[in-house]
């Protein structure tokens, strides 16, 4: 396993793309979060907004770059033919996929942590200037606050799970454009499509099943009872998606010719 990990780390480290994608992920997350924070204002007591969730909104955009990186790690090898060299060097294919998943998780965790902490810091600095003060029932965002800590740690886990889901789907689909279409469809489309389901139960079910709509429940800190799914249960749904995709991707990698 160690040589496989070392090989994957070398591949990731020695091309420029992954670094730019990770930096882009941090920048995109923080930019959207800061943008979302800077447009809300509170003029009187009890504005009722979920400020932690608002400050972490950038994750909705940042995850797209993690998806690109995850897909390129797999389908990039297929399009360049590198996959044959990789599998010749390490014939145990499950090890290859595991090494890729572990390396990716590590770098996404680092970038995700930076992005989440940066977004929270932006919220802590900007929100009080927009009227969200302690006097109006909105203390400054802090990791010492239990729900905010859960939302932040959960957001980092969420981004890792989305990257793993993408690795699994890329291993199934192999073509990069189609993989991206499938993954972004799963993430972004389900919340949009659930709006047209006229039956409230069907709508709720779709929101509970969508990897993004369920997983981002981890970011909620207020009004937890009205969420379609509980925070940790929601992240569990995303983990289920990632596990299923990795399992199917691993099996297909073993069974198919590369």
């Amino acid at each position: 396993m160690r040589p496989a990990l070392h090989a994957e780390w070398t591949k990731l480290r020695t091309v420029a793309g992954p670094l730019w994608l990770l930096l882009g992920m941090i920048a995109a997350t923080m930019a959207l979060s800061a943008g979302a924070i800077s447009v809300v204002t509170c003029r009187s007591a009890g504005c009722g907004a979920d400020l932690t969730r608002l400050s972490l909104m950038g994750v909705e955009l940042g995850q797209a770059l993690a998806v690109i990186l995850a897909v390129l790690i797999i389908s990039g090898e297929y399009s360049s033919g590198m996959i044959r060299t990789t599998l010749t060097a390490i014939p145990h294919r499950t090890t290859v996929l595991a090494a890729k998943a572990i390396t990716l998780s590590a770098v996404v965790a680092v970038a995700g942590t930076t992005a989440v902490l940066g977004s929270l810091l932006a919220g802590r600095l900007i929100l009080p200037r927009h009227g969200f003060t302690a006097a109006r029932g909105h203390p400054a965002l802090s990791l010492a606050d239990g729900p905010t800590l859960r939302a932040s740690a959960g957001s980092i886990l969420y981004q890792i799970l989305i990257a793993l889901l993408s690795v699994g789907i890329a291993a199934i689909v192999r073509d990069s454009a189609t993989s991206i279409g499938v993954i972004l469809g799963l993430l972004y489309l389900l919340p949009v499509l659930s709006q047209v389901i006229g039956n409230p139960h069907g709508q709720r079910l779709l929101q509970q099943l969508g990897p993004m709509s369920a997983g981002l429940a981890i970011q909620a800190t207020t009004d937890l009872r009205n969420l379609p799914i509980g925070p940790w249960a929601g992240l569990g749904v995303t983990a289920g998606w990632a596990a299923a995709a990795l399992l199917a991707g691993g099996l297909l990698l073993r069974m198919r010719d590369a």
């Binding site: 447009v39 279409g181 972004y188 489309l189 006229g198 039956n199």
Partner: protein, 508 residues
């Protein structure tokens, strides 16, 4: 005599260099790749599938019917009406000295508040059936005296609010189907506000009314109740039935949210003085007052799914050439690179347009029929709007696919190209769907980002005389339909030009 030598000119030469030949080559490439053709068919099917899903999953059977106005549009027609029958011609005059509104604050307690379009005045209406034609003259809280008829028409009269010190006199004269409204600040000098023609039938109902529409509060609206004091009520002409009777019209209507805080409408009479309390509105219905209603844009939500499919195909149409090194052959056969890109854009755009049009034309009527069968009210559209939505949806998909082609040419990497275009068009829509998003930001996002193109599917109209939160997410876009699409087209044109420049400058 020397024979003239005709130089050899191959007949096919000109044609092979021709643009038509280039188009034919690109079309051949497109139709012979099974995945791309499948992608386009899938895109069309997704539009239809989601429309069917939207239709069959809705269930509003047994809900009260939506009141329909004389123009066929859904209306709110719930208000407190103090009325007597009016057979034939006649007139009615009254003075209004106060109009006060209350809105719930915090835990349902009513407090005095401003409801800009609270209305109190005179009305002559065909009958007490909801949606029947009417003409009315009224004072409003913040918009002065108005004359309104047939739910959608609104004319301004004397400005300024009403109070005990600035009493407003109002008069309606009926002559056949012509109703003239007049207003006065002193009861002697009258100013005509307008004359309208309304189909009233032989015996109409006329009298006093009070309506109090929802008022803005925080990020939403809240129900309100208003009370007006009337005096000097005089009637002339064919008024029958000596007593005034009061009732809340349209109490059980889906466009009426009820009284705040368990209140109810009422009136008291002492001589020619009346005090009337009412809620509701007489106005066209909007998304907020008719939340159960669906629109054609809702039915066509599958466009989002189709969009992802056509973006993937659009990006692959160029990036595959790079991956398979076919681009060398393509550019060797046709060295003018800009023309290659243009030919690709035309072929891709045309195929996507046809697929999108087929999907939209099938999906919209099918989804609407299924939804109506389940009791869902669909906001009506004219046939020209229907055509615009179908053509606009197809054009949106075609433009997005060409944008994906351009970005794919610039990046030469399908993963980044597909993500960029999907994020640019779909993410702003997800952001405006967030309930915390202020309307001003949502409007800004749907003006400047490629998501402005969704405006092409809007079918709802905004009314200045109806206070509501007109959010893009509810189908009220800040840009006109084709202007919204033009924003996406602008991005696409820019992308195409940049793509042509880099294709020209770079080695393939």
């Amino acid at each position: 005599m020397t024979p003239t030598v005709t130089p050899y000119r191959p007949g096919q030469r000109a044609e092979r260099d021709g643009f038509l030949q280039l188009l034919h080559a690109e079309w051949t490439k497109f139709r012979t790749v099974r995945g791309w053709v499948t992608g386009m068919v899938v895109a069309a099917l997704l539009v239809v599938l989601v429309a069917v899903l939207a239709g069959i999953s809705s269930d509003q059977k047994g809900s009260a019917p939506v009141p329909i106005g004389p123009g066929g549009e859904p209306v709110t027609d719930s208000f407190y009406f103090v009325h007597r029958p009016l057979a034939g011609d006649g007139s009615i005059t009254v003075s209004v000295s106060t109009l006060e509104s209350s809105i719930p604050k915090g835990l349902g307690e009513l407090q005095p508040g401003i409801v800009p379009w609270a209305k109190a005045g005179l009305i002559v209406k065909q009958g007490t059936r909801q949606g029947s034609p009417y003409a009315a003259i009224m004072v409003t809280s913040s918009h002065g005296v108005r004359m309104q008829d047939s739910y959608v028409n609104d004319t301004a009269g004397l400005p300024g609010p009403v109070s005990a010190r600035s009493v407003r006199w109002l008069r309606l004269d009926r002559s056949g189907d012509a109703i003239t409204g007049s207003a006065s600040a002193d009861g002697t000098h009258w100013t005509k506000v307008g004359t309208v023609r309304v189909e009233l039938g032989p015996t109409a109902q006329g009298g006093l009314f009070v309506a109090s529409p929802p008022a803005m509060q925080g990020l939403g609206t809240t129900g309100s109740v208003s009370t007006a004091a009337f005096g000097d009520l005089r009637v002339q002409g064919g008024w029958t039935g000596g007593e005034w009777s009061g009732e809340l019209l349209g109490a059980e209507s889906p466009t009426f949210s009820g009284f705040p805080g368990n209140g109810s409408g009422s009136f008291t009479q002492s001589g020619d003085r009346f005090t009337v309390t009412g809620a509701g509105d007489i106005a066209p219905a909007v998304r907020e007052t008719l939340p159960t209603g669906g629109t054609r844009g809702d039915i066509l939500t599958g466009t989002f799914a189709a969009l992802i499919a056509v973006i993937v195909v659009g990006a692959l149409f160029i990036t595959t050439e790079y991956r398979k090194n076919l681009i060398h052959v393509t550019l060797a056969a046709s060295p003018r690179r800009g023309r290659v890109l243009l030919a690709k854009a035309i072929v891709l755009g045309a195929v996507t347009f046809v697929a999108g049009l087929a999907g939209a034309v099938l999906a919209a009527p099918l989804g609407e029929r299924l939804a109506r069968a389940n009791g869902v009210y669909i906001f009506p559209v004219t046939s020209s709007t229907e055509l615009r939505v179908a053509l606009g949806t197809a054009a949106l998909l075609a433009t997005a696919s060409i944008l994906a082609l351009s970005v794919g040419t610039i990046f030469r990497n399908s993963a980044s190209a597909v993500t960029t275009v999907i994020v640019a068009i779909v993410l702003p829509y997800l952001l405006i769907a967030n309930p915390f998003m202020p309307t001003s930001v949502a409007n800004w996002l749907t003006r400047v980002t490629p998501a402005a193109a969704w405006a092409v599917q809007q079918t709802l109209a905004q009314y200045p005389q109806v206070t509501s939160i007109y959010k893009p997410y509810d189908g009220y876009y800040p840009l006109a339909p084709w202007a919204g699409l033009a924003v996406l087209a602008g991005y696409t044109l820019f992308g195409l030009v940049v793509a042509a420049v880099v294709l020209h400058r770079r080695d393939a």
